[in-house]
């Protein structure tokens, strides 16, 4: 039996030729920050890591906002702290008004015998809307984020609609769809006046890992842990440990297997968590 360690798939991805025009992406980041100012939304995941890597090449002092849900993986906090030190990030940690656990517990939906609480805070409001309002108030209307179209139909539709709403005004005009997407895609103008730009909006997952491997970027150790547990590629996503999404796909199974002590603590507060493990 061979003891050769074999080829490192991630390292191989880093050797593949980069098809993206990174200079164009950096130029668009620069234009976005010049026009709107703003911040990089950093979750500690791979997509926002690549976004952050591109953004700090343009402006090393760009504000980096981390929305702390209070229920991130322990490794995420350590990873962000180390990255902030190593890359000398202008990090702005914005804690949620209520932690995810407080909100989930307050709904009553996670307790077998608890009554539903219609007045419980809305999780999206508490975790996303309010912290982003705070970040925009402090840093400007712009936002650079790692949201990708491939991640969900909703995100793909949002980017597709936004692209349709941006007619080409280039001189000379964009001649191909590819050129149009590269020059105008990824920007979402919100009704509240803020503008989000996703530099990696149409990247595929292997491209993200390829960029990380090529530039040897430090990755959140949660990915390695999930891989070791056997989690499939589409589950290698970093966000807070628990919310109401993807429960039916086994999100809690991986949590229980990889972080048993944390799972037990959470299940004490949210007893119905066990139904999804």
């Amino acid at each position: 039996m061979s003891t050769h360690p074999g080829l490192d798939v991630q390292a191989l991805q880093g050797l593949r030729r980069q098809h993206r025009d990174l200079d164009l992406i950096r130029t668009r980041i620069e234009e976005h920050l010049d026009r709107h100012e703003g911040y990089v939304a950093f979750s500690g995941g791979k997509d926002s890591l690549v976004t952050l890597h591109l953004a700090v090449q343009v402006d090393p002092d760009v504000p980096v906002a981390f929305f702390d849900s209070g229920l991130e993986f322990p490794e995420t906090y350590t990873h962000i702290e180390k990255l902030a030190n190593d890359w000398r990030l202008n990090l702005d940690v914005i804690p949620a008004r209520h932690t995810t656990l407080e909100v989930l517990s307050a709904t009553g939906a996670w307790n077998h015998h608890g009554a539903r609480n219609p007045n419980a805070p809305d999780l999206h409001q508490v975790l996303i809307v309010e912290p982003s309002q705070t970040a925009h108030a402090q840093h400007g209307a712009g936002e650079l984020w790692g949201v990708r179209a491939e991640e969900s139909r909703g995100r793909a539709a949002a980017y597709a609609n936004a692209l349709r709403a941006h007619p080409c005004s280039c001189d000379p005009a964009c001649t191909t769809t590819t050129e149009h997407r590269a020059r105008h895609g990824g920007q979402i103008d919100r009704v509240n006046g803020t503008v989000a730009y996703g530099p990696v909006w149409d990247w595929k997952t292997p491209e993200i890992w390829g960029h990380i491997a090529r530039h040897q970027l430090p990755v959140n150790p949660v990915y390695a842990k999930l891989r070791q547990l056997g989690a499939p590629e589409h589950f290698l996503r970093i966000s807070h440990m628990v919310d109401g999404t993807r429960l039916e796909e086994g999100r809690i199974t991986w949590l229980r297997r990889g972080w048993p002590a944390l799972f037990e603590d959470l299940a004490t507060v949210l007893p119905r968590l066990r139904e999804f493990s």
């Binding site: 086994g250 048993p260 002590a261 004490t268």
Partner: protein, 241 residues
């Protein structure tokens, strides 16, 4: 009863499915068998036993096992959790799917809403990972009465999750004395020397070199999921470690 250190081995058809990152507890298996018998007897006598989880203080069933009592009065049965015979880090990821059968729901209630969504809420359809430790046998250690343990286990034909799908099918039970084991190892440790059961800190005094799964909240004895049995304990060594 004569209590002696023992090894319990279950030969399996193909492996065992479980979501917890450590094996099934032997005392839990024995307790579930005793509890099933108690329920049958109660039903035969014309009444139902209240669910153990719904009792403020669930009963401690008379398992044929020795106990380990700490100085502060906490105690647990002298038995470990199962350890697969293959490297414990190896896990097969399979999948199970579930969808609510509306006709079945109609049998369980006299009122149903117009639609029961399979996309959201409690009855949403599921496609869940099933984590299986592929192995031909799992081994426990314990201190107890050989014959009584053997007699209780004879009725257990499968262990773990998804038993009705063929997972965890037991081909043979083997309960043998283990005179080579000291009492501490038989009650607490896996064959590889790692911690084999949820254990109070007091039990680990003087045993600092034992690899465990960290400190966490866990049940100390059956019924393991009862809130009154949950304490801050040293967790067993993790299967995925």
């Amino acid at each position: 009863m004569t209590y002696v250190p023992m090894r319990v081995r279950a030969d399996l058809a193909g492996g065992i499915a479980q979501s917890a990152p450590w094996g099934i507890a032997l005392d839990g298996l024995l307790a579930s068998e005793l509890w099933a018998r108690a329920k049958t007897e109660a039903r035969d006598a014309g009444h139902e036993l209240p669910r153990a989880l719904e009792q403020v203080s669930p009963p401690d069933l008379p398992l044929p096992l020795a106990t380990c009592v700490t100085e502060d009065g906490a105690w647990h049965w002298a038995a470990t959790c199962a350890q697969p015979d293959t490297p414990p880090a190896r896990i097969d990821v399979r999948a199970w799917m579930g969808r609510v059968d509306r006709r079945q729901l109609e049998q369980t209630t006299d009122w149903l809403p117009k639609t029961v969504s399979d996309r959201q809420g409690r009855y949403r359809a599921r496609r869940m990972p099933l984590l299986v430790s592929p192995c031909l046998s799992v081994t426990w250690r314990a201190i107890g009465d050989l014959e009584a343990v053997r007699e209780l286990l004879e009725g257990v034909v499968s262990i773990g999750k998804k038993r009705s799908s063929g997972e965890g099918h037991v081909l043979r039970w083997e309960v043998t004395p283990a005179p080579d084991l000291d009492e501490y190892a038989a009650a607490h440790l896996h064959p590889d020397g790692t911690l084999g059961r949820p254990t109070p800190s007091a039990c680990l005094a003087g045993h600092d070199d034992i690899v465990d799964g960290g400190l966490g909240r866990a049940g100390i004895r059956p019924p393991y999921m009862h809130p009154g049995r949950q304490f801050e304990l040293h967790l067993p060594a993790l299967l995925s470690a």
